[in-house]
Subunit: 192 residues, 2 copies
C-alpha cells in the first residue's frame, strides 16, 4: 500500500452516492507534502518521456499540476471551465459533462499554450468516468500535441474512465485505484 | 523594479477595459519558478507572523497558495466558488461579486479547515476592488480566526481594494501595484 492509499484510509470518508471525500488533504485543504510526493511519483513514472508541458483543468487539478511541473522543469497549463472575458477568442474548446455538478462545462485553452511539438502529461486529482481527461485529450488532439501520459491521484476503478483509456493504449498511471467502497467506510484498492 | 514587475512589463498585455493579461505566466500557463519566487517573497515578508494556514479562493489563487504554504510548512486551504455536492452542509459562506464574470459567487469553506486559533495568511494572484479578499476576511471573521496578513501578486492600484484594506490597518503586501496602464502598453508601477 502506497502513501496515498494509506492517507485515503486514514482521512478519506465514503459518502452516499459513491462519493469519496478527501477534502482534508487533497482538494479543499491541501497537504503540501503529500502533493510533493505525488509530483515525485509522477516524475519517476514519466521521466523517460520528453514532457514539455503539464496540463490539467481547473480547479483542484492545479494543486497537483504545479509540483509535477516543477519536478519536470516545464510550465503547468490549466484549462478553464467557463469562457472568461479575459481570454482571447483564439481558443481550443471541448464540452465536458460534470456529474458532480450535473452541468456541461465548456473547457477552454488558449492556443498560445499548447502546440504541435508539445509532449503533454495530463494530470488530475480524480478520475471517475474520465470525461475531464477526455476533454483534455480532445484539446491536445486539436493542437496536434502528443499525449505522453496521464497521471491521476485517485481513480474510481468501478467507473469506466480508466478502463477506456487503458484499452485505447494510453499510459495511464493512477496512484490509488478504488475498486469498491461502501458506506461503512470499507475501501478496497486495486493491487499494484 | 522587482522580478514580478519586470515579468509583467516583458510578458503582460494591456487590453481594453483595464484588463491586464498575465496568462502566459500566472493564471493560465504558469511559470513554476516565478511562483516559487512569489512564495519566497511572501515568506520573507510574513515570516515573523505565526502563520498556521494559507487561505485563497479557487481557482488561480491555488497556484500561488501552494508554494507559499510549502514555504511556511502549513496547509493551504482554498475556498470554493459554488456549492459543491461533495461539500458538507457545515460551511462558512460569503457572497462575492465577480466583475470579471458579472456574477455573484457564493464562496464556501468547510468549518473543519479554519478555526478560532488559526493565524491566516490570505493570498491571491490579483486584487482590484478587493471583493474576493473581503469575502475571505468575512469567512475568517465567522471562524474567529486572526488574519495575520494578505499577500497579493498583482494589485490594480487604480481601483480601491488595496486602499480600503490599508486604511483598515491590514498588513497588505502586494508584489506589483499597477497605478496606471494604457492601451499602448504603458504600465506604471507604484514605487516601493
Amino acid at each position: 500500500m502506497n502513501f496515498l492509499e494509506e492517507r485515503i484510509l486514514k482521512d478519506g470518508q465514503v459518502r452516499e452516492g459513491d462519493i469519496l471525500k478527501v477534502d482534508s488533504f487533497l482538494n479543499h485543504q491541501v497537504d503540501i507534502t503529500l502533493l510533493e510526493q505525488i509530483g515525485e511519483e509522477f516524475y519517476e513514472h514519466f521521466r523517460d518521456k520528453r514532457i514539455t508541458r503539464v496540463l490539467t483543468v481547473e480547479s483542484s487539478g492545479i494543486a497537483i499540476a504545479c509540483p509535477v511541473a516543477r519536478r519536470f522543469g516545464v510550465p503547468a497549463v490549466f484549462a478553464k471551465k467557463a469562457r472568461s472575458m479575459n481570454l482571447d477568442g483564439d481558443l481550443y474548446t471541448s464540452i465536458v459533462h460534470s456529474y458532480t455538478y450535473n452541468v456541461d462545462n465548456v473547457v477552454t485553452l488558449s492556443r498560445q499554450y499548447l502546440h504541435a511539438d508539445d509532449s503533454v502529461l495530463i494530470v488530475d486529482d480524480f478520475m471517475a468516468n474520465g470525461k475531464a481527461v477526455q476533454g483534455l485529450l480532445d484539446i491536445c488532439g486539436q493542437a496536434g500535441a502528443q499525449v505522453a501520459g496521464i497521471g491521476i491521484a485517485i481513480e474510481k476503478g468501478f467507473q469506466n474512465g480508466g478502463r477506456l483509456l487503458r484499452e485505447a493504449g494510453m499510459d495511464l498511471y493512477s496512484l490509488a485505484i478504488v475498486d469498491s467502497m461502501s458506506a461503512d467506510g470499507t475501501i478496497v484498492f486495486r493491487a499494484h
